[in-house]
Symmetry: C2
Subunit: 356 residues, 2 copies
């Protein structure tokens, strides 16, 4: 069962930094109903790795990645809003990306995919709105990479959303975040199975992807959360040998589980393109009045998209003329808090969406 | 030219968690003169990767890793003190470790080296004191891994040092630090060149060591320092291509340089043993009056050995009866601040050593 739908991109679709895509498409899912005025749409962009399946629905009752935020009566209230979540251009869950077939050759693009920019992902979402006949979204919202995308959306398509919610995003990543992503990519590139991007889909660079995901997982959370969650607890029955370097602590077992899930789900070349797009994203200013109101949420324990990034976003939105609210959340869960600290995020997002 | 000297360990040398070493030795260097009362010795343990060459000397004028702290008139004043730095047992700069020859087989130990504990490193340093006829050190001091070793030293050899300085150490690493070290080890284990530890010395697992070192470098510093130091500066002339994942930002170039230096210097199996020893180290309490006075230094921006670890160390020392001073430094350089924030560290260490 799938709730996935598709919107064709204009053909050709010009990429932000050069090159075109032919016959490209964006996968999306929706919840709630578009009202007659067509002014109740919430456009949702995702972080680097999720699909458009943000929440369960009758068409696809499997759990989504934001089930506790998005639904009837929840912060993103599907009784009031028509919510459209998109799979990022360049990703591998239905939208066109490096793992998709290049119609010009009949083979997967792999490294022949043109350069991907965060702006392209924004335009991909914009085209979904157009395909649905929606001129203006009520709100565009996104966490992490999505928090960058919504800013690119406002920059490239001013007026296409009245409100904006950027969660743990950035106008240009700090060198600490760039370094971590560089290392994640290097782990993939260094895996002999990567084969300069020419791996068979059934033989991906598992080792590289595992390392990349584990590093991601470490930096998506916070030391303080893990102190409470894992402490120095051992894996029951784990052998303690002189020369064993196998997982021995519970935290290692947790990383294992995260890595295993990811390796079977995500394409390595797509990961490389999306990761690089995040590094290269840089936005100095926003067009005047590109959105009317904005909410910027950051988490004080986020080491990847620190609150300093959030303050810059808020100041830049404010300068563009948007009535901007900045929330610095003291959540203990770090960058991933939007997935975990549901009470705080529900409160901030729900209050913002209702006040209109 | 080398200033390196060697002290034989008792033969056999019983390891803390089982197994023995035969014909083992510890490499050490010294500065200053032992006084007649033999009460002016400072015993210095290192972090995970340095050698005993902490400072330049007439016998080896090449730069040491703590040249600005250790020398005539400096914080660790070699005009007052006889300073002895040791290469950790299990390391590869002269002391016996997994890369050394096992006299029983005539071949390198590799993974047949017995389990290494932080306590063994401490006892290695203690045996150097004994070999030099020194009953009691004036002070035992160590940063990072060395900050753990000095605590193990106090626990295993109470009274063998009058004072203790633990810099950015721990009584038991937090899961965040364990996770990062686990990932560093996995990068080495996953490198096909590692060959289950049986690589030839001239063909080490370079890829794994590079990744491990880069990850270390990222976590040894702080995001704030890198904002100031690198910002979003690009490498001049770096190609900007759609599918290039080569280094493009200055921070990536810095990581490259760090990794290259390390790969040619450090043995992979030694790294694995030392890294695992750090994970497994756990000390609940210290013997009564094992030292008289203690200085515990932590850095507020350290994400690997956070100030919470330092507070626990200070409380544990205090409970043992040591007059303990805790300094939480606001240095921006993170875990590595002891190598960089020379004014603050000179002041704290110098003041402590002079007040006796």
């Amino acid at each position: 069962m799938s709730a996935r739908q598709y919107a064709a991109l204009p053909d050709p679709f010009a990429m932000y930094r050069g090159g075109v895509l032919r016959g490209a498409r964006i996968a999306w899912e929706s919840w709630g109903q578009l009202n007659q005025a067509k002014d109740n749409t919430i456009l949702l962009f995702t972080g680097l790795s999720p699909s458009a399946h943000a929440a369960a629905s009758p068409a696809d009752p499997t759990p989504g990645w934001w089930d506790e935020i998005l639904g009837p009566g929840l912060a993103i209230d599907t009784q009031r809003h028509f919510v459209v979540a998109v799979n990022s251009l360049g990703s591998c869950f239905g939208s066109t990306g490096p793992a998709s077939t290049d119609p010009a050759t009949g083979k997967a693009y792999r490294l022949d995919f043109p350069e991907l920019a965060v702006e392209d992902i924004a335009s991909g979402g914009y085209e979904v709105l157009r395909a649905l006949g929606i001129e203006r979204a009520h709100t565009v919202i996104g966490p992490s990479l999505g928090g960058m995308v919504v800013l690119a959306f406002a920059a490239r398509h001013p007026g296409a959303a009245r409100r904006l919610v950027s969660i743990s995003g950035s106008l240009g990543s700090a060198p600490f975040a760039v370094a971590l992503r560089s290392l994640q990519r290097e782990a993939i590139l260094a895996d002999p199975a990567w084969q300069a991007g020419q791996y068979a889909p059934e033989a991906p660079p598992r080792t590289g992807l595992r390392l990349a995901r584990k590093l991601g997982t470490i930096t998506y959370r916070s030391a303080g959360e893990w102190d409470l969650r894992f402490g120095r607890e051992r894996i029951p029955g784990a052998p303690h040998e002189a020369n064993s370097f196998a997982p021995e602590f519970q935290v290692e077992s947790y990383l294992e589980a995260q890595a295993e899930k990811f390796v079977t789900a995500f394409d390595a070349n797509c990961y490389l393109y999306l990761s690089r797009a995040m590094d290269r994203f840089e936005l100095e200013a926003l067009p005047p009045h590109c959105v009317e109101r904005a909410l910027v949420i950051g988490v004080t324990t986020d080491i990847l998209f620190p609150v300093t990034d959030q303050r810059r976003i808020a100041a830049t939105l404010e300068r563009s003329g948007a009535a901007t609210e900045l929330v610095e959340m003291p959540s203990i869960e770090g960058h991933d808090a939007f997935l975990v600290d549901i009470p705080r995020f529900s409160d901030a997002i729900g209050t913002f969406l209702r006040a209109s």
